[in-house]
């Protein structure tokens, strides 16, 4: 009983307080860049079974297969009934940075709030401002196809207690401004480490093997290490990596399409030139 009480206390959702939300006028243009870098639409894709939906809008409901079952990421358009139209800034920040739903439940970390937690709150509010600028789409959410979802969600609280790092991203003053921009995009919104950093025994990212690659989350094959991209001959230099991120396999860059990287690369292609250069500068510095 004591053990259960301890579990119940430790696993309780710990949302941010309203005081964590600064007064901030949302910057839609910045929000769009971060939304693109974060690949939000790749998972919040429109429900293929509902007719007449714009596939470019993140209206959710497309099945996302994970090792624990099928998830249907929800509608991110500003529809009041089925989307985030009625969400407060606090609701949104708690979902994106603490993995807590509007109704107060733990969210499954297929949603990479584990990386988004490193972002400044203002950037998260900019993403919300961008989403609120999209046309609302009515597309109801679908229950996850996960057995024992209730207990699992509560258990996630324990996992978060042990493994959710909410430390904000920090610049490195010994590096250039562009390197820092790249580091931020890669480690915050871009959440590259969710696949490129292998996981430890409790399935949290293993910081001691940062970006060193590991088993592919879909079960077959490997996710490559991002260390030594130039030294190992995979890219000639920063310029070459920029071209690879912008053009992917269209320019014959192998391994930019398989295993889900194709979607990531397509997002990189939409980022401003300076941001892709920053990402490349940061990545090739990982020796």
């Amino acid at each position: 009983m004591l053990g259960f009480t301890a579990f119940w206390l430790v696993s309780a959702p710990r949302p941010l307080p309203a005081s964590a939300i600064p007064a901030h006028a949302g910057n839609i243009a910045n929000g769009e860049i971060l939304y693109t870098a974060g690949g939000c639409r790749n998972c919040h894709k429109s429900n293929a079974e509902q007719a007449g939906l714009d596939p470019d809008l993140p209206s959710g409901g497309f099945p996302l297969k994970t090792p624990i079952g099928v998830l249907y990421p929800p509608n991110l358009t500003p529809d009041a009934e089925t989307g985030i139209g009625n969400w407060s800034d606090l609701d949104f920040v708690n979902a994106v940075q603490r993995g807590i739903s509007k109704s107060g439940q733990h969210l499954i970390p297929a949603f990479p709030y584990t990386s988004y937690a490193a972002m400044p709150v203002e950037d998260v509010l900019d993403i919300k401002a961008y989403l609120m600028s999209l046309p609302p789409v009515s597309s109801p959410s679908r229950e996850a196809g996960i057995p024992i979802a209730f207990l699992l969600r509560r258990g996630l609280g324990l996992w978060k207690f042990l493994g959710l790092d909410t430390a904000p991203w920090q610049p490195d003053s010994s590096q250039t401004a562009t390197w820092n921009r790249g580091s931020y995009l890669v480690n915050g919104p871009g959440h590259c480490g969710e696949c490129h950093t292998p996981r430890n025994l409790i399935m949290a990212r293993d910081g001691s093997r940062f970006m060193m690659g590991g088993p592919h989350p879909e079960g077959q094959g490997k996710v490559p290490s991002l260390h030594g991209l130039v030294e190992t001959g995979r890219y000639k230099d920063q310029k070459d990596l920029v071209l690879a991120l912008q053009n992917g396999e269209v320019f014959g860059y192998e391994n930019m399409s398989s295993g889900g990287m194709g979607q990531v690369q397509a997002n990189m292609a939409k980022l401003p030139q300076a941001d892709v250069e920053a990402i490349a500068e940061y990545l090739i510095s990982l020796k």
Binding site: G221, S257, G259
Partner: protein
């Protein structure tokens, strides 16, 4: 005596069965190797075209033609070797990164293959650098879209 004959039959049968299996192995392995040879040839041909796109090499109509001819030859050789038959996945012993989805119900591999054939034809019809550069991305996209759906990550 009977048991000795029986033993002989079983032994012979085992050898025949074993031979049959190893032939199946060899067939699937050869198909996969032919597929990989095709991809290698395509990759090499792509390299020459991409160099022009990136400005690392000057536009040269002869290089474009030679690269497209190499792809056509690789395509034909793979067809000859039945490299894309579903049978290539039965009893193979060499590693392949081809996903079984290629041969699954509702697979659009045929349409994706056709996009590659069409992109080659369009590119072959170009006569100058501007035309080449405008037509090239469709060829790269054909490689990309097939690999995105049908090739699993290596390792």
């Amino acid at each position: 005596m009977l048991s000795r004959n029986l033993f002989k039959s079983i032994a012979a049968g085992t050898i025949v069965l074993g031979l049959g299996f190893s032939l199946a192995y060899a067939a699937a392995d050869d198909q996969i190797k032919a597929r990989q040879a095709e991809m290698k040839a395509n990759g090499k041909a792509m390299g020459a075209l991409v160099a022009i796109m990136k400005g690392e090499a000057p536009y040269d109509a002869a290089t474009v033609k030679a690269s497209l001819d190499a792809m056509a030859a690789a395509d034909a050789a793979a067809g000859e070797a039945k490299a894309w038959d579903a049978s290539s996945m039965e009893g193979a012993t060499v590693e392949t990164w081809a996903k079984p989805e290629i041969w699954a119900e509702g697979s659009d591999i045929g349409a994706k293959y056709q996009a590659w054939v069409d992109a080659r034809a369009t590119l072959a019809a170009t006569t100058d650098e501007a035309g080449f550069k405008a037509a090239f991305p469709a060829l790269g996209q054909a490689c990309q879209s097939c690999h995105e759906s049908f090739r699993r990550p290596k390792g």
